[in-house]
Amino acid sequence: MSQELIISGSPHIHTRDSVDRRMWNVVIALLPALAVALWVFGLSALWITLLAVGACMATEWIIERYCFRRPCTLTNGSAIITGLLLAFNLPNILPWWMVIIGAVVAIGIGKMSFGGLGCNIWNPALVGRVFLLLSFPAAMTTWDPAVSSGLMQAVHTGASGVDAETGATLLATLKNSGHAIDMSRVDWLTLGIGDMNGSLGEVGSLAILIGLVWMLITRVITWHIPVAVLGSAALLSWATGANPGLELLAGGLMLGAVFMATDYVTSPMTHWGQIIYGVLIGVLTIIIRRWGAYPEGVSFAILLGNSVTPLINKYCRPRRFGMRKIRKEVAA
């Protein structure tokens, strides 16, 4: 034995799991949706994605290096995820400088101003997205008129009393038509594959589900949040007379439920807390879509869900061993 002995407190072995492994698995899970975006929107999707990811990484690097003066944390992949998710929430024809503003806000304000990875209250990508949506409402809701699939035309011509303009998302069409479109014209397979207009990442619902399966297999996330969000949203939309399938597949709900609501940092810790949080997001999404001014409500719903996460954490504590109930005084 020639080495210097290392001393540390127990335990002395460690799982092979790591933050890096988890983050890179999320990146892998995002790839199918990216592929669909490339197929639907062409090279402009790649451009927006690279721009957002690059700007996010650059912002993180600069802030870590010059403001926090601590070792660079880019290799853990969290900035890449933020960049990808931000790009997935943008239309493909957004001007390049808006993408950069979104990325700087997402990382700089959404994440770094709270202290970096693990400290933020809200999902950084959504902070960036909502900032852009409120600052540039027109640009953020202008969709590429060139993207016009058979599905969109079918729905548009079927929507009675609506100007069948191209370059609108399915949800906007739904909202404008007062949810009176001819369901028989909706081709579910095309809808699932995602051949339609919208934000980059939200169109390919099936691809997102493939990502979900990957994350479940690699145990990056548990089923609780996605199932709670999608289940509650489907149930509420069914109860209010809408088509649950359309609500789940047509907008960003799938993307939000699988990739954004499940962000570790901003979601509750216990499984029960996660279910409450998921149901809250699902219900809020449908309420905003139904009765709010926006055709899309997932971003706001998730940010609101993030805001109550500390509260949920406080009341949904694990049941302590040897305690009949969670004692009230502990929560206080």
Binding site: S8, S18, N76, T270, G322
Partner: protein, 431 residues
């Protein structure tokens, strides 16, 4: 086959029980034995011999320093050399007696053998105490104290802990395979000492040979039963074992006897059998030498006080040596130290480097892993902020220090280090 387990939390670390097929062999006898006076929880023992005294093998050489304390016996015949200050494996000074072996002397000291079937409970407990028996699983709590339940509490069963859920360690497994009848008889002694009719022997399902051997041995006694446990860490934790077998949770802050259980390790039961039936005090134990860097892995019967340097042969690459298992064992800084009653294994590791500590991402992995339903991330944060009152309210004292949280943390945060610190501070605050 019905398997038992506890419901909350737990992890599945790699087993690495590489030495499971290696029979117990006696370790070479060292010419000089060093017996620490504080080998058990409680006050250090007080020497009852002087330097220069001749002692027989098994002769008591130090008496308990208090009610919670244990006798220490000489493992060999020889001469007491001196009482000196040595270093513990963690480098702290401790008092010890050194005994020089006399190879010519065959003098043996033993207690009169007893028949457990007709000995009284008091006699059995007294024998366990005078034989210096402590919990051999690693906690080193004096067994005689455990067998004397506080007033108003009536034990209903004895649970024998053969779970051995720590990775790498195989000493209990081998002991059960090779000495099942003795362990069963020891369990019978414990049942008689506590005055109960039932005994459950919990063994994890990754030790089928041990289960078969113990089943056969237990069938000789009425009320003794082997319970097969699902392999999951920390199945061998006292509270988890009781929850698995009896389906009852020991209330927070209470002793296991409050749900009617007295839990002892199988190695302790073996030592009890030796003390009662053969009259032999505790002077040795089985320990596992294992790990990537051990050149002589195996299960050894060692005399207490044997220096580790004479037992262990290590590889060049070894950079961490642990006394006990990898989950709860303590890293050693000093190898010039003797074996003690609580040392169940020596694990040599070749780590190379330690992974970086990253910020907590609040993934909740530690919440799911904690077998006590605590919030390790929160407790660690409270400890970092020195908020001891909040930590006490959050149940930090319920922590069994199993290490599941720190094992499972993807950010590799040293959660248990902070929680353990918090426990010492809360204990200080209370007193």
């Amino acid at each position: 086959m019905k398997t038992f387990t506890f419901r909350k939390g737990g992890i599945h670390p790699p087993q690495c029980k590489n030495t499971a097929e290696m029979p117990i062999t006696p370790a070479p006898q060292a010419p000089l034995l060093t017996l620490l006076l504080s080998q058990s929880i409680g006050a250090p023992s007080k020497p009852v011999v002087k330097p220069g005294d001749k002692v027989a093998a098994g002769q008591p050489i130090a008496e308990p320093g208090g009610f919670v304390g244990a006798w220490v016996h000489s493992p060999c015949a020889g001469t007491v050399k001196k009482i000196e200050t040595v270093r513990t494996p963690q480098g702290y000074p401790a008092e010890a007696l050194t005994i020089e072996r006399d190879p010519q002397s065959t003098e043996v000291f033993s207690y009169p053998p007893m028949n457990p079937a007709d000995a009284s409970s008091e006699d059995l407990v007294a024998r366990v105490r005078e034989a210096g028996i402590v919990g051999l699983g690693g906690a080193t709590f004096p067994t005689s104290v455990k067998l004397t339940p506080p007033k108003g509490m009536t034990p209903r069963c004895v649970i024998l802990n053969g779970a051995e859920c720590e990775p790498y360690l195989t000493c209990d497994d081998r002991l059960m395979r090779e000495h099942a009848p003795e362990i069963a008889e020891g369990a019978f002694c414990l049942m008689r000492a506590v005055g109960v009719r039932h005994c459950y022997i919990g063994i994890e399902d990754n030790k089928p040979e041990a289960i078969a051997a113990m089943r056969e041995a237990a069938s000789q006694y009425s009320g003794m039963e082997v319970c097969v446990l699902r392999a999951k860490y920390p199945q061998g934790g006292e509270k988890q074992l009781i929850a698995a077998i009896l389906g009852r949770e020991v209330p927070s802050g209470a002793l296991p006897v409050s749900v009617g259980a007295v839990v002892d390790n199988v190695a302790t039961a073996f030592a009890v059998q030796q003390a009662v039936v053969l009259g032999k005090p505790l002077t040795g134990r089985v320990l596992t030498i294992t790990g990537e860097g051990a050149l002589n892995p195996g299960n050894y019967y060692v005399e207490l006080g044997t220096p580790l340097t004479s037992l262990l042969q290590t590889d060049e690459r070894v950079d961490k040596i642990i006394g006990g298992g990898p989950m709860m064992g303590r890293a050693m800084s000093n190898l010039d130290t003797p074996t003690t009653k609580g040392l169940s294994g020596v694990l040599t590791m070749c780590l190379g480097s330690m992974p970086d500590i990253q910020p907590c991402i609040r993934c909740g992995a530690c919440y799911s892993a904690c077998p006590m339903g605590l919030e390790p991330m929160l407790l660690a944060r409270q400890s970092e902020n020195s908020d001891w009152e909040y930590a006490a309210r959050s149940g930090v004292m319920d922590c069994i220090e199993c290490g599941s949280c720190a094992y499972t943390c993807p950010s590799n945060r040293r959660l248990l280090d902070w929680i353990r610190y918090s426990k010492t501070q809360v204990r200080k605050l209370k007193s």
